[in-house]
Symmetry: C3
Subunit: 132 residues, 3 copies
């Protein structure tokens, strides 16, 4: 398993980690299989979406915060209940096929580490499995 | 890896692809493992839910559109920001166990390709891994 | 594949199944790979989130029910449309890496079976794959 360190800079942001994940797949030598990206944190997530226009990520974050706002009368008293909710909605793991030694990302797709309670130093785990 | 082509007919719909995914699992010859279904698009997703009553899929789509509506003042100017948001909430990938050569779907479960910005010609990738 | 039985006690709750999933991983003998947890039901899901403070799970459930309420004029006439919606948002499957024979859960992370239409007797399937 490989570990990627991600340093986030604001409370809530989506960080494009496509090149780091692609490099790990290449280094694994796996030609056909899957890459599982996993976030070992309860206030962050991982997703795949458009990385050509940064406005897409901003819209996703705005939409989440509009419905699950930061400051509110949540039961969890650490002030980050919204981040836990966002984490389970986006999910802490995603699985992407690998073919011909590469992630099978579509033309506009990139992999994003989703920070919901930063800034922090975070980890993203990558487990790459062979299909054969 | 196998590719399924899905032709969607309206802007937002859930298309039952259970028989196509089941056939791919059978053809793979894998007896025990998992099937990863992956959408290489940023305005679509894949989920598993009830496919006996079509009203279930309609309720899911209505609920998503109520909270993340199509026409609104989003930052992304292509007019489909809502579709990107729905994609990350439903997620572009799902992993289903395979046992005795078949998907371990529950009685009421079917696999759905979720179109959020159609109609389009779409792909669904299937990577089937052996557990042994 | 292993099956865990989960008896839920109320209509909507998150049940910590971390110890059961961890035991299955240990018993599998897999040292490096992934564990896929899969829910064969259309009104339940599985997620990973904080299991130190039970208020986190309550906030997640409250937030979901606030936006996707139980009693409302849904099309699906069985009275549990909200549970189907919650199931697809949380998702019926999650994939967690296994390393050194253990789930790579972060410090605060636990695995939760999410009941959205209980009480019922439920199943959670675990398929554990080897990375080598």
């Amino acid at each position: 398993m490989k570990k990627i360190n991600v340093k986030t800079k604001t409370r809530i942001e989506m960080i494009d980690v496509t090149s780091e994940v692609s490099r790990a797949v290449k280094e694994s030598g796996v030609k056909s299989g899957v890459c599982v990206a996993y976030v070992p944190h309860t206030t962050a997530g991982v997703t795949v979406n458009e990385h050509a226009d940064p406005a897409v990520a901003e819209d996703i974050l705005d939409a989440l915060s509009e419905h699950f706002p930061h400051r509110r009368n949540w039961r969890h008293t650490e002030g980050n209940a919204d981040a836990h909710i966002k984490s389970s909605l986006i999910a802490p793991s995603i699985t992407i096929p690998v073919e011909d030694g590469r992630l099978t990302l579509g033309t506009w797709q990139g992999v994003f580490f989703c920070e919901f309670d930063g800034p922090r130093s975070r980890n993203l785990y990558l487990q790459i499995l062979n299909a054969e």
